[in-house]
């Protein structure tokens, strides 16, 4: 197969590629959410990993396919992995707030994972906004969280790398997005996709150039198709959550100031004592280092590490490997079975 044939085949195939092939079992379901358990090939650690993905896309990026799956790599390394998949929200979920996601889904999910695994402690691994939610949850959690890993998770919203003037106008009360969000109720998936594209890369064709450079390689083409399928799989977003995030996090920066209230509790980052690994990415335009790094100054954890990864926003999730900085850090903090 030459490059042009491969290129045309990859872009004209209408059938979605298979994704999420690591063996898993549902442990708990609520509304559209499912807590999945991925059993290890051979259990080597006592502390399971609980993954929280963003609400913007679907979490199958964590398990794109055999050999390209972070989840598969972690189960092969001997970890029990739990993934909280929030599912695809519908109009009846339009009133779900950040409090709901944290208390009714993440907290309950962690409790269920602890019951299911019979583990005494748990590691949280949050990606992007899922990482922000993981940090908020960890700051009010009564459950025993041993390790907290935040991958490209923004916590300090004092600076923005894109549309800074828009944020300033929002803070000054010159821009009002509430009426539009209230009218919508549930932001449609297409609008989420366009919105994210608008603030990251309004013009986007470089993925086709990447495809062309390896279009004669069937395996790389399949990986490209899987990733491309994920990149287009945005889901609707509850406006109530977006409003709360916009006001409490984006506008008032309450999380880093210790003023965020979640279910009558003050979500103060200095309540976090878990071992912390915060990860940033060098080419990340959406979540720059300045929004991630400050968490290390605010938590009470004695053991805290910041790692700068060479790559873009989704590198840890999409590379489909368990990188050595993660496995080395996690293995010595996950009570290895001797």
């Amino acid at each position: 197969m030459n490059k042009w044939t491969g290129f045309l085949k990859a872009i004209t195939t209408t059938e979605d590629p298979m994704v999420g092939m690591t063996p898993r079992n549902p442990v708990w379901k609520k509304n559209k959410a499912t807590l999945w358990h991925y059993p290890p090939k051979e259990k080597k650690y006592n502390i399971p990993i609980f993954m929280i993905y963003s609400l913007i896309n679907q979490p199958f990026i964590l398990d794109l396919g055999p050999k390209y799956s972070l989840i598969e790599a972690l189960t092969n390394s001997g970890y029990d992995v739990y993934l909280l998949d929030f599912g695809i929200p519908s109009y009846e979920d339009k009133d779900l707030t950040m409090d709901d996601y944290i208390l009714r889904y993440i907290k309950k999910g962690v409790q269920r994972a602890l019951l299911h695994s019979k583990a005494e402690e748990i590691s949280l691994l949050g990606f992007c906004m899922g990482g922000t939610f993981a940090a908020i949850y960890a700051s009010i959690a009564e459950e025993p969280i041993k390790n907290l890993i935040l991958s490209v998770a923004p916590v300090d919203f004092s600076t923005f790398s894109v549309l800074e003037n828009g944020i300033d106008l929002l803070r000054e009360g010159e821009i009002h997005l509430e009426p539009l969000l209230d009218a919508w109720g549930l932001i449609p998936a297409r609008s989420m996709k366009s919105g994210i594209r608008l603030v990251s890369a309004p013009i986007y064709y470089s993925h086709y150039l990447s495809l062309l450079s390896h279009a004669d390689d069937e395996e790389k083409n399949l990986k490209w198709r899987r990733y491309n399928h994920w990149a287009k799989s945005h889901i609707p977003f509850p406006a109530a959550t977006l409003k709360q995030m916009m006001n409490d996090l984006g506008k008032d920066n309450k999380l880093i100031k210790g003023q965020l209230i979640i279910g009558n509790k003050q979500a103060k980052l200095d309540n976090i004592h878990a071992n912390l690994l915060a990860v940033g990415a060098t080419y990340d335009r959406l979540v720059p280092k300045e929004q991630i790094l400050p968490i290390t100054d605010h938590v009470s954890s004695i053991d805290k590490t910041f790692h700068m990864l060479k790559g873009g926003h989704g590198s840890l999730a999409k590379d489909g490997k368990a990188p050595s900085y993660l496995t080395n850090w996690l293995s010595i903090r996950s009570n290895p079975i001797l």
Binding site: Q111, I175, A201, I203, S206, L209
Partner: protein, 119 residues
């Protein structure tokens, strides 16, 4: 030789294309970041929002004489299902905790009877 030549061209196209994409995006984001553009988008969004609201209110009003369910009706019904599911979830949690307590109790009884037998 021919393959190397094609590879070379493709690499140039890829690098140049990526650079052009980056520069175009920078220009667009710079343009969008201008306060007058942002204010204009904000004004348009207010008009759009009030139009959607008016349409929704009209549909709600029409649903009564024409006797059709609206999305809000379906939402209210579904929310009741979700509430019921949450109650079941709580019950299930209690059953799990009870089972664990029973298991712990069994273990304690077995251990103590074993110790009694030893004595």
């Amino acid at each position: 030789m021919m393959t190397n030549h094609t590879e070379g061209i493709l690499n140039v196209v890829k690098n140049l294309g990526t650079k052009v994409e980056y520069e175009l995006n920078e220009s667009i984001l710079g343009l969008m970041n201008q306060p007058r553009v942002l204010r204009s988008v904000n004004n348009q969004s207010q008009i759009f929002a009030s139009t959607i609201k008016r349409l929704q209110q009209t549909v709600e009003s029409l649903s009564i004489p024409f006797n059709f369910p609206t999305k809000n009706d379906v939402t209210n019904t579904t929310k009741r299902f979700i509430q019921a599911e949450e109650k079941l979830d709580l019950l299930e949690e209690r059953v799990i905790h009870l089972n664990h307590s029973i298991d712990d109790l069994k273990d304690t009884i077995t251990a103590s009877s074993y110790r009694t037998g030893e004595n």
